[in-house]
């Protein structure tokens, strides 16, 4: 009954709230006012329904928290499906191989004749997967808020574009150069902000990305300005010329390999000294410095390594699109990559991959709902934070548990 009353009052509140914006539309040119009262009814009804659901969910969440807090036997707790799956080495290997095979034959499944639309879409999505994994290092593992990650991506893309235009360097030569340039920029960014606290970090990194974009836009003698750089060559296969579809498939495999490389390297980094230093820094900076973690070195390495992947995949992005201009590197893109990391689960590699794929593929395939896409995106971000702040996949660290009944069990980290 309480629910009903509250939901009702919330419904009415929202009707009041949305009154001017959703109901009234003033057309100053034709001097008329459009009154859309149906919208008001809709707003009220939806608000009522959602409020009801909301209270339900909040109660369930609180109950679950109570349950966890008063749990006497934590070790006997039901682990999530993900963790159980990860525990079972045989099953997880099988799933991994299955997914790997699917990824390999994907291009042949979805294209035929001259059509390579889906491959293109997947390539774009995979590029963002690498970006998400890269930012995962800086934000997810080291806890350093970076709102301007897209700048490193731009650096990589423009490096390839300029080097290939002015010095005729090939794709494969430029690939590592792009990564190194990204890394350099990461260090340049990291230096002045070592002493800054979390929230100041946010605006400075944002500022850096803005500066980068503006310089790219205005210095047109070097960067082509707003017109961008066109006719960037695609990667060649030992000098052979490939046609449209084959080029797309070739790039697909390149990106897939890059994703695999990133996953492997990131996993190794996570379980290394550096990785542990990052995670320690994320949890409590003062304590880790007191324990001997070199703050400057660790932070700089987090920026540099995170930026490396962005620079690397920036080269692929330029090669894939043949044309780049500053419009592809906005704050919204930075926010999207950050969303991928946070929604996927900070530090969790698999979570970030899934989040990146979902955030990039869904809008493309749900073009029918394009208008509402950003609305849903914003709402999802808010809702996920409230109901599942740890992200899709909880970052599982390598744990060693002592079973009270004797014997040890080793939970694999993922």
């Amino acid at each position: 009954m309480m629910h009903l009353k509250r939901s009702l009052s919330i419904g009415l509140w929202f009707m009041f709230l949305t009154l001017p914006l959703m109901v009234v539309r003033v057309n100053t040119v034709s001097r008329e006012i459009e009154w859309r009262w149906m919208n008001l009814v809709w707003a009220g009804v939806c608000a009522f329904a959602i409020a009801w659901l909301w209270q339900f969910s909040i109660e369930r969440r609180a109950a679950k928290r109570m349950q966890v807090a008063t749990d006497d036997h934590p070790e006997k707790r039901q682990h999530s499906l993900a963790q159980r799956l990860a525990d079972d080495p045989v099953l997880s290997r099988r799933v991994l191989i299955g997914v790997g095979l699917l990824a390999l034959v994907f291009p042949w499944l979805v294209s035929s004749g001259n059509s390579f639309y889906h491959i293109n879409v997947m390539v774009s999505a995979l590029i963002f997967v690498v970006l998400g994994l890269g930012l995962n290092i800086t934000v997810g593992l080291a806890g350093l808020l970076d709102l301007g990650y897209i700048a490193f991506f731009a650096v990589g893309a423009y490096t390839y574009a300029l080097l290939s235009k002015n010095f005729d360097l090939g794709f494969w030569t430029c690939l590592p150069i792009g990564g190194v340039m990204g890394m350099l920029f990461g260090v340049v960014l990291g230096f002045p902000i070592l002493r800054l606290r979390g929230d100041y970090l946010a605006i400075v990194t944002l500022g850096f990305a803005s500066i980068t974009k503006i310089v790219l836009e205005n210095w047109d003698t070097v960067f082509g300005g707003a017109a961008g750089i066109a006719n960037i060559p695609r990667p060649d296969l030992f000098g052979f010329e490939l046609d449209g579809r084959q080029k797309a498939i070739y790039i697909y495999y390149i990106v897939l390999a890059l994703v695999a490389l990133t996953v492997v390297v990131t996993t190794r980094l996570k379980n290394s000294r550096v990785g542990r230093a990052w995670m320690a820094l994320r949890e409590d900076e003062i304590a880790s410095v007191a324990m001997g973690v070199d703050m400057a070195q660790t932070k700089l390495s987090a920026y540099a390594l995170g930026a490396f992947w962005a620079g690397l995949v920036g080269v692929v992005f330029a090669a894939h699109n043949n044309f780049i201009n500053p419009d592809s590197f906005t704050f919204m893109d930075s926010a999207m990559i950050l969303a991928m990391v946070v929604l996927g689960g900070m530090g969790s590699i698999l979570g970030v991959i899934i989040a990146a794929l979902v955030l990039k593929l869904l809008p493309e395939y749900l073009r029918a709902f394009a208008e509402y896409r950003m609305l849903v995106f914003g709402a999802v971000m808010v809702l996920m934070m409230i109901f599942r702040p740890q992200g899709l996949i909880n970052d599982m660290r390598r744990k060693y548990e002592c079973d009270t009944a004797g014997g040890e069990s080793d939970n694999g980290g993922k």
Binding site: L85, Y117, N218, G228, A230, N231, N325, L392
Partner: protein, 373 residues
């Protein structure tokens, strides 16, 4: 590993892929229309979509082209280059024969490579970036609007000769279109030697305050301002110029010649000059088509409607003359067979520009644009 989620994702991707594999299409002629249909720049793209729809409906009512019905394929790319490449690959993979679009020069540039490789002719109603045709890189590209450098040249000459300005300020919005117009104007003025460009500045679109630039205008005592960009920035500049009592002639490109500008700038628009496509309302077909549009939608058609209608008519005519959709035959037809359109009787030159379309200078008088003779 959450197997269920991953499998679901791939299953979804696979299923949607399977559903969009090209079904053995009935024998139709596929015309694509691409541009911004949602987002900020939708007002520039929706009239083109409407125009194409009108032409296709009429053609189909008359039995199609050479007996085949025409199917219209719509692609929305919000003027973003990366979305434009997606739209282009989608249209190409679904078997499009000819494309009307894109609308923004940046998006067109991004998509043209794909169309070029797939040998699809593209006719744009509004992409005015000169290198697209004059550079010669895209033999598959045509347009029914004159390129920007013609516009800029006209603006520059008008400012020097008709307005007699000796000190000119050139401003732009740092975007591809605006800066392009500004650069060409600057070049034209400097080449003429009759006036000096004393100020060349870019302003940030979306910023609230342009006081610094405007005060610079006052300091330099300029005789005229040439602005490259769209109506929001132009009207902000004009409003703030008015406030600071800087009254100099203001000349803008076709990006401000529209109702959007008049609506936003209000009384500040009075006396402002803009270059725009030559007045096409004199052509009978134009009047007829516009009346049809008004009857159907209840309002005047928006920007680039005439050009898009003309482009679609040209495409239809070329297919009819060529007897099919063969790339080379279509190209030849476009270049040799004149067609009566809403922008006059046109055919295309060797580079892809339409012969017979040009620009004129307009001025806002009593709240409407009137051609300056």
């Amino acid at each position: 590993m959450q197997k269920s989620t991953l499998v679901k994702v791939f299953a979804a991707a696979f299923a949607s892929a399977a559903f969009s594999l090209p079904v053995l299409a009935a024998d139709t002629i596929k015309i694509g229309v691409a541009g911004p249909h949602t987002g900020d720049l939708a007002p520039y793209g929706l009239p083109s979509k409407d125009a194409a729809e009108m032409v296709v409906a009429e053609v189909n009512a008359k039995g199609g082209i050479n007996g085949k019905k025409v199917e219209l394929m719509i692609g929305d790319e919000q003027c973003k280059p990366e979305l434009a490449t997606n739209v282009a690959t989608k249209l190409v993979s679904e078997g499009v024969n000819i494309v009307i679009g894109h609308v923004c020069s940046g998006a067109t540039k991004a998509a043209l490579g794909i169309y070029k490789e797939a040998k699809i002719i593209t006719i744009s109603p509004s992409a005015t970036n000169p290198p697209l045709t004059k550079g010669g890189e895209y033999p598959n590209f045509y347009r029914t609007i004159a390129p920007d450098d013609d516009q800029a040249q006209l603006a520059a000459m008008f400012v020097i000769e008709k307005l007699g300005a000796k000190k000119v300020a050139v401003l732009h919005d740092k975007g591809d279109y605006g800066k392009g117009f500004a650069d060409f104007s600057k070049e034209a003025i400097e080449k003429s030697g009759k006036a000096k460009v004393v100020m060349y500045e870019g302003v940030q679109p979306g910023a609230m305050d342009y006081s610094a630039v405007i005060q610079k205008l006052g300091r330099e005592k300029v005789d005229a301002v040439i602005f490259g960009g769209y109506h929001p920035e132009a009207s902000k500049l004009l409003a703030q110029m008015g406030k600071k009592k800087i009254k100099v002639p203001f000349v803008g490109p076709d990006g401000i010649k529209g109702d959007g500008f008049l609506k936003i700038a209000g009384k500040d628009a009075e006396g402002v000059y803009a270059t725009g496509p030559k007045d096409v309302t004199q052509y009978p077909l134009n009047a007829k088509v516009r009346a049809e549009y008004k009857a159907k939608y209840g309002k005047e058609p928006g920007t680039f409607f005439d050009q898009a209608y003309a482009a679609t008519l040209a495409a239809v005519n070329a297919i009819k003359v060529a007897g099919g959709t063969n790339y080379d035959a279509l190209g030849k037809a476009l270049k040799t067979s004149p067609v009566e359109t809403t922008v006059g009787k046109i055919k295309f030159d060797a580079k892809g520009d339409a012969e017979g379309v040009g620009f004129a200078v307009y001025q806002v008088k009593n709240g409407a644009f009137a051609e300056v003779k």
